[in-house]
Amino acid sequence: MKAMNRVASIALHTFKEAVRDKVLYNLVVFALLLIGAAILFSSISVGIEQIIMIDLGLSSISVFGLIMAIFIGIGLVSKEIERRTIYHILSKPVRRVEFIVGKYLGLVLTLVINTAIMTAGFYLAIYYQKRSLGAEDFAPLSAIYFILLQLAIVVGLAIFFSCISTPVLSAVFTFCVYVIGHFLSEIRWLGTTLHSSAAKWVTQVLYYLLPNLSDFDFITRAAHGEKMSSSLLVSNSLYALLYVTVLISASILIFEEREFK
């Protein structure tokens, strides 16, 4: 129980630090972008304005969340080491596993709150455009849930890389995995067309090792009003949970051996 309380303290502290660092200022940029888009598209496009609005809104939520997940994620551990604040934490009855899990949950909490506020802004823009909100307008919520699952994986990647590398390289690695993760099906297909067995092996390894993020991309389909199947919802949720568990476990194993000179 005490361990859970310590994890919660570290998570809330991480959230508070992010808020004090003014990272939620991105919401202002997001709001301005949506207001501008709503005004612009309602005046220039007929019939497809809602599709564009949903596509733009969800893409913005995804991009803003991704930037936060990578740039705060890579600093979660490295900043504590660099500033030597880690000495204050680990000299207290805090196990290293609690520190990593608390830090991870703190950033995920920050992203959930950030995404929730952006979602509220997104629906305000939709309301401004349509002057009403029906049950069908809430279909994009499932796409937003998938964005959050992706962000949860990205934070796990950022923490993992920051445990083994420098902040700059961690950002590069995390971004590369994020991009490659959206093209894993193509990479696997590419492997089948190659003659080299080594190349086939590499594409197979990449396919199974890296997170398959293209399965989480539901933005375009949500914009066209497509409903998400419950099987996809469950399988993606379990996949994200499993992948995050593996990433955080690996991070903990590395962090347990780390020395703070």
Binding site: K2, N5, R6, S9, I10, H13, K16, E17, R20, D21, R83, R84, T85, I86, Y87, H88, I89, L90, S91, K92, P93, V94, R95, E259, F260, K261
Partner: protein, 325 residues
């Protein structure tokens, strides 16, 4: 039960880019610290003081040897609930206020909210930061940061307090306050284990000290024993001595300094002080005072450190380890 016990504690760091060579920064440290004593770890920069503290707090791991804190092995972090730690040159979260940081520290010890508030208020007053409780740490001076570091080390009312260079960055008033604070902790029956390279602090505060140099322990024991065993010299103050008497001191290896009508004569240890006194009295000069000057910690320290430097000049040339300040 001992507060701290180390046996042959050794730490090597790998140096070099490709092929790492081990570089020993702590070499077989064995010490025992009793409960309720103030124990000082002394040594110049790079001696291995911070390395020792970091090993004891499990921030780094020993290459070999073992240690116990409050009867528990180092990897048992439950002992951390009963200890406090002030790192050297502490640093905090810039955006938090002093009170918020103490509250966070208290949360990590699972203290109830009301207790955290009470202790934070008391400690901020104790370290002289009650007026800055709502100020963000980024606006703190170095001395204020050090005081906050001391306050957070005491938030859990620890049995054992580790202080790494606690006087660092403090002005004379602040140093005095920290000295008083350490003495208060001793009065309360707490064990204080602190590292310093400022010998006067150690001389004033410590029951026992260990002297480290280049990772090796050069001496360990009660300060009283260390410093009172030997008389370094005898100082005799005399009034209006005749000139021929002063010349006579040279035969006994003595040196003298005249200040007005008085002359201070220094007789080195091993000389026949009774014979010198007899000579003075026979000359008709008046003896104002006779003082046996004991060896100072600084003298002792220089003797130990200098001895080691003579033994291992090639090791001395390596300089401080990375991470040691």
């Amino acid at each position: 039960m001992l507060a701290i016990e180390t046996k042959d504690l050794t730490k090597d760091y790998g140096v070099g880019f490709w092929k790492k060579r081990p570089r020993r920064v702590l070499d077989g440290l064995s010490i025992q610290v009793e409960k309720s004593e103030v124990f000082g770890l002394l040594g110049p920069n790079g001696a291995g003081k911070s390395t020792t503290l970091k090993i004891l707090l499990r921030l780094i791991f020993p290459t070999s040897g073992s240690a116990r804190i409050l009867g528990k092995e180092l990897d048992d972090t439950s002992a951390h609930a009963r200890i406090g730690f002030l790192p050297e040159n502490p640093s905090f979260y810039d955006n938090l206020t002093a009170e918020e940081f103490l509250n966070y520290a208290g949360e990590l010890f699972s203290l109830p909210a009301a207790e955290r508030r009470r202790r934070a208020a008391r400690l901020l007053a104790q370290v002289g930061l009650e007026g800055a409780r709502d100020v963000q740490v980024r606006k703190f001076s170095k001395g204020m940061v050090q005081r906050l570091g001391i306050a957070q080390a005491l938030i859990n009312d620890p049995e054992l307090v580790f202080l790494d260079e606690p006087m660092s960055g403090l002005d004379p008033l602040g140093r005095r306050e920290v000295r008083d604070l350490i003495l208060d902790l001793k009065q309360e029956g707490k064990t204080v284990f602190f590292s310093t390279h400022i010998l006067s602090d150690a001389e004033m505060l410590c029951d026992r000290v260990a002297i480290l140099h280049l990772g090796r322990m050069q001496g360990c024991g009660e300060l009283k024993e260390m410093l009172e065993m030997d008389v370094a010299k005898t100082e005799i103050m005399i009034q209006s001595p005749p000139p021929e008497l002063l010349e006579g001191f040279k035969a006994h290896g003595g040196a003298w300094v005249r200040t007005g009508e008085r002359v201070r004569v220094e007789i080195p240890s091993g000389s026949d002080v009774s014979a010198v006194l007899g000579m003075i009295l026979q000359s008709g000069a008046e003896v104002v005072s006779v003082n046996a000057v004991k060896i100072s910690l600084e003298d002792y320290f220089m003797e130990q450190v200098g001895k080691d430097a003579r033994i291992a000049p090639e090791k001395a040339a390596v300089g401080p380890a990375k991470g040691e300040r």
